[in-house]
């Protein structure tokens, strides 16, 4: 066997080892109940914002603190803490993918990905800004809602 073949085998084996170890680091997409069942473990929580519960965000006091309640498709709820500004399109989102850990009764997340209703598929063109049918469209900036009790 040539040296180059030995090197080829060694490097390929190393690459496969890397991939296997990579697979060990992967996590899962979970529901609230499952996330709660493994506290301290990093998961991707799939849920949406529960609008019936208060959301806490005050950018002047602290732009890096958002707290709200998430509810998943099974109806389970969990309090979510996010140490970053409120994501864009948060109010509009129909689904949130939250990466983080369930710890001490709340879900502390590192990042939130918002999934919004597709802009093109579902939107009624007559509701589109700029179209005549929709003179009521207004440009007001979304107010930062604050619950401070």
């Amino acid at each position: 066997m040539k040296k180059i073949h030995i090197i080829l085998l060694v490097l390929t084996a190393a690459a496969i080892a890397v991939l296997v170890s990579f697979l060990q680091t992967t996590t899962t997409y979970d529901t609230v109940a499952i996330a709660k069942s493994k506290p301290g473990k990093f998961v991707h929580l799939m849920a949406k914002w529960d609008k019936s519960e208060p959301m806490e965000y005050d950018a002047i006091k602290n732009p890096n603190y958002l707290a709200f309640t998430a509810i998943d498709t099974l109806g389970d709820k969990v309090k979510v803490i996010y140490h970053s500004p409120k994501p864009e399109n948060f109010e509009l989102s129909e689904r949130l993918v939250m990466k983080g850990k369930y710890e001490e009764g709340q879900f502390v997340c590192q990042s939130i990905q918002t999934k919004c209703p597709s802009k093109y598929k579902d939107q009624d063109p007559s509701k589109h800004p700029g179209n005549k049918k929709d003179s009521a469209y207004n440009n007001t900036v979304a107010r930062v809602s604050t619950v401070k009790q």
Binding site: K61, N62, N64, H83, D124, P125, S126, K132, V141, K148
Partner: protein, 856 residues
Amino acid sequence: MPGQVGHLFILVSLIASLTAAFAYFKAVQATPDAKAGWLKLGRMAFLTEVASVLIIFAALLHILYHHLFEYKYAWQHTSLSLEFKYIMSAFWEGQEGSTLLWAFWHCVLGVIIIKREKKWEAPVMSVVSFAQFFLATMIVGIYIFDVKIGSNPFILLRDSGVLNEAPAMHVNFDLSQPIRPDYLSMITDGNDLNPLLQNYWMVIHPPILFLGFASTLIPFAFAMAGIWTKDIKGWVTRAIPWTLFSVAFLGLGIMMGAKWAYESLNFGGYWAWDPVENASLVPWMIMVSGLHTMLIFKHSGYSLRSSFLFLALSFVFIVYSTFLTKSGVLGDSSVHAFADIGMNGQLFLFLIVFVWLPPFFAASTNQQRLIITGVTAVLSLATYFLAEKLPGFPLYVILGGVITFIVLLNKRVPSIKKEENVSSREFWMFIGSLVFFLAAMIIIFQTSLPVFNKLFNSNKAPGENDEFNYNKIQVLVAFVIGILTAITQYLKYKATDTRFFWNKILVPTIISALVATFILVVVKINYDVHGMGFLINIWLALVATVYATIANAAYIWVGLNGKLKNSGGSIAHFGFGLMLVGMILSSSKKEILSWNTSGIAVPFGEDSKEKTGENLTLVKGVPMQMNNYMVTYVGDSAHPKKQQTYFKVHFKSKKNNEEFTLLPDAFVNYKGNEGLMANPSSKHYWNHDVFTYVSSFYKPDGKSDTVSFKPNTVHLNDTVFYSKGYIIVEKLAAKDNLPVAGFSKTDTGYTASVKVQQLNGPSYSADLLMIRNQGNTLYQNLDTITSQGLVLRLDDVGGSKITLGVKESDDVLEYLTLKAYKFPYINLVWGGVVFLVIGSVVSMFRRIRLQRLKAA
């Protein structure tokens, strides 16, 4: 009308490209007498294809330019306020337009091949035309037995289904009725180009990137042509310049994307290991491996099989990247993939066919070819029906194609029995190519996690730190590749005399050691977020890439006597090394400037457990300390036509008196997108950038806020009245030690707890902090009780008396939250890319020159 013309020519293009592929195929297979006829037909068919693509291009451009909103493409991608320069961006925002752009570059490259590559024209153009045929099917937009083939860019809005759910667009506002004849009068404006894409990079980056994409087909086609026409070795010389071209332009296209991401998108950097980025990086890496194995073959006769394999895989992965970005499979994991438009099956078929094309050409007899064609057809159908039932089946179909190709290569392509000398250039060059190729494989495996989920019905999500998963491996690759790039040029093909090697490489090695030591000791890299092990790897990679940079620069003089025309390789390697050094330095020394020490500085209160945040709130007109700067949000100005706001943020350095203003901007609630779409703004220095973007902002409606703070001097437990109630100072303390960044021993921190009681309402608490040093106020925090329209601050403390600043207004404050980074040495990255591209192009011209000399 332009739509009908456009669609007609899509059909023409479909037929012409298929005819060209077939005619060129026959031209290769036919007897010498019949050859000329088929060649002529192939050429005519391809020129018809070129003309059709140009007409389609023009027709679509016409529709966009004139905002013909009856066409969905124009409605979806443009609006009346869209600037002229972005019409082109709108053109390739959609899948159909980008496919068309790709097809356009294939045409350009095809014409050059017809002109230049006489001997190879027929086989190469057969492959090119065949690829062109597949691209044409992607925009044809017809249905065969309910299966949608392609997506037609010329579809009318009323036929596209967009209006089906809109009652206002139907007769009698009834969805079951047909669409109103005058529906067009209600569509006065289009959806517009995604605001994030309204950027000059979007005008120039896609054409270059797609030129790079298209160019990978040519080396692939040459490799196929070589094994097909049994000229197993002859194609390499002709293909090398094309490969260099591809390396240069695909690389440039990718890095322009990186520059765009850095300058205009708020990803906080130039590279995020996003699947879409990786999907185009991987073919480039394989192409680079292929280029090196071709050079090995040309000079030593080794590595021919790997050249075939790498060039074939490079294009296969281009097709795979198209599948990833256009099929919607990345929906959850990428920020900039296209949405699914129902073409997954077709895109996957494209992939299967181009995976099984290399075995088709590598087959030695026509009978074998027939069998392979049959197998491909059966497997394609089987994939369609079995993909859901047999987990992983599509993957096995792909792997089957690759393995069949390798088996056939082993049979058809000779290899040298004699072992390479360990002191030879080819030995180390091959190891380098192999490492680079495997690195690419690891990247694409990690990227394909969502695909594996689909294939095996699994539920795997990326790990806790996805970027680190890439970085921790690629930093080792950078180390190995860096060392190999540095020394390999100093080795000779066949064998190298040891003394000769050391004589030449000694001085560059010493200089590199000095420079690397300087960087590690003086500039310092202390990125220990991921532990000491990773930090050491970063140091090693830095040393290796510095070595690569300096050794290659030196080689231009030491090895090539300063003849720049001949040193394309060294220039490219120098650029590559420089780019890696820049990446290592800029990533490991990236600093967040906007650490929020205000919100959490207060050492008491409900949020005390909180981590420091990365975003800083700036209230309009109030200077805030951020790192070494005093930063003030001065004001904002709006774009005259769009809901785009430019924020004026003023920086004043505390070290020297340097001042500057940055203008990060954002689209606010743009066309139904609630929230911000921010574009960053940077201050460039020679050795670093100050990079900022607005992460959120709030502006009250109506009149501007002119109310100022009213001072109230009170004792502890005194009451201050405001319009809705009263305020009581409950606690006061002076502390000479606070857990606040930058708090020095001579500073004193004053904290006050304040209770705000609304009459007949709830009460609120506020925590105020002021830091002083010898009478100078260094810092005051603002506490806002939004529901009361109240802002409080501690203005002065003297004995038991304090001055409480109270500001009351209907609409509290205008503010924004800012995220700011310091990106050091970012220019090394961009400079490195420039040298990499220039070097590759210089090399390409040298190879073309050598071909001419040989021919003459």
